[in-house]
Symmetry: C2
Subunit: 240 residues, 2 copies
């Protein structure tokens, strides 16, 4: 069942805050994308690249294990990670081992430990996630991450690019990176929400190649490949 | 400006969780009520009284001081506190000194220290609050606690009762306690949300005297007193 999670808070090294408008999309088959734009970029560097982080992967990039009725272990290997792509200092491509606890309210508490400064310096983090109703274009809270609604995933097949787009209900998030580059010029992100007339409200439309994202998701078939301005997208998942 | 805040998480003594569906209403003039029903009461005691806590007060019961652009200090003296009323062990009627920090996302981080076990045993707590759009009957996230919309407050004048009801937009929360009692039999709580046809969806309707809450808020006047099944309610605030 597809889900859309809004991050409410991010605690790291003892400090709790939320500087981003982060949404994570997870498809029915377990493919994922998380876009984390800064709400109020501060300073030249953040204005130039107003994202805390962005990453994505397919269900082959995450190991999900049920621990008990309320806890799930998820070990992520990011297939695409903006920090690694941009060679941010201390960016790590190690797997991220996380525990997801579902509270009575339906809110999800993700906790884990990362080692950006080496194996002997663990940094604990906690992220709190509020499930959002994917069938509304407004940010309506729900008490369950699982929902019905369309779940569509396309992935780029060109060898010099990494790209994925995930549609969950009315919400669309996509990431496209040029693998011949490693600067912000090679990055593209979109976050669209479908209006009632079928048009898209563009909440994020970042990068010089945003016209290479697919924007029509009717009558596709799993396995087919479509061309969008020179980029080939394969339909990995198509549940409508 | 009236506001409605949904608690997302409650961290106390190092443990973060959310077992309740807590909404706090704050009126335009600063009167307040917080109802904290348990979502999944566990065990006989919780089933008998399925609330973590409930409290309310007027703007005379809270001192609000602006600290800086993003921080506000609020010192609460609860005019009515279910824990004190029920003589819960370690319940304290001391003022609660809190700091409210507004994050870039609009989410509010409340933090403070309480002393339920005496002055030498401080217990730190943190509550994270998501502002909700008061003009919708659905739980729609907003990025600002301040909102337009009606703000109406009535307070009981009978000397043997404490009662307050706060209307913020479509959301109504009320508390009524019999001061001649100190058991759960003396407590009444309501949380209604107005449907588009003007009727009320009763999300909480707890206690044997819920028929003593006012349910019509049209054409009242500040200062007037209305009778509801033998209880006198004075209109403290009336902004429509």
């Amino acid at each position: 069942m597809p889900s859309l999670l809004k991050r409410i808070s991010f605690r790291v090294a003892g400090t709790n805050n939320e500087r981003t408008f982060t949404l994570s999309s997870v498809s029915d088959d377990g493919h994922f994308i998380s876009l984390r734009p800064l709400i109020k970029p501060a300073g030249e560097k953040e204005v130039e690249f107003p994202f805390e982080w962005a990453f994505a992967g397919t269900n082959k990039d995450v190991d999900v294990t049920k621990v008990d009725e309320t806890n799930v272990r998820q070990v992520f290997r990011m297939a695409f990670d903006s920090n690694v792509y941009l060679k941010v200092p201390n960016a790590s491509s190690d797997p991220v081992d996380t525990n997801w606890k579902t509270w009575d309210s339906g809110v999800l508490q993700e906790s884990g430990t990362i080692f950006p400064f080496g194996d002997d310096r663990a940094v604990e983090f906690e992220e709190i996630w509020q499930p959002i109703d994917i069938e509304s274009g407004k940010l309506i809270l729900t008490d369950s991450a699982a929902a019905n609604g369309r779940s569509i995933v396309l992935k780029v097949t060109n060898s010099n690019k990494y790209g994925i787009i995930i549609v969950t209900g009315k919400w669309i998030q996509g990431l496209l990176g040029d693998l011949d580059d490693s600067s912000i010029k090679g990055l593209n992100f979109i976050r669209f929400v479908q209006n009632s007339d079928g048009s898209h409200q563009k909440l994020i439309n970042y990068g010089s190649n945003v016209d290479q994202f697919p924007t029509k998701f009717d009558s596709l078939e799993k396995g087919e490949t479509i061309d969008v301005n020179g980029v080939s997208w394969e339909v990995l998942e198509y549940h409508v």
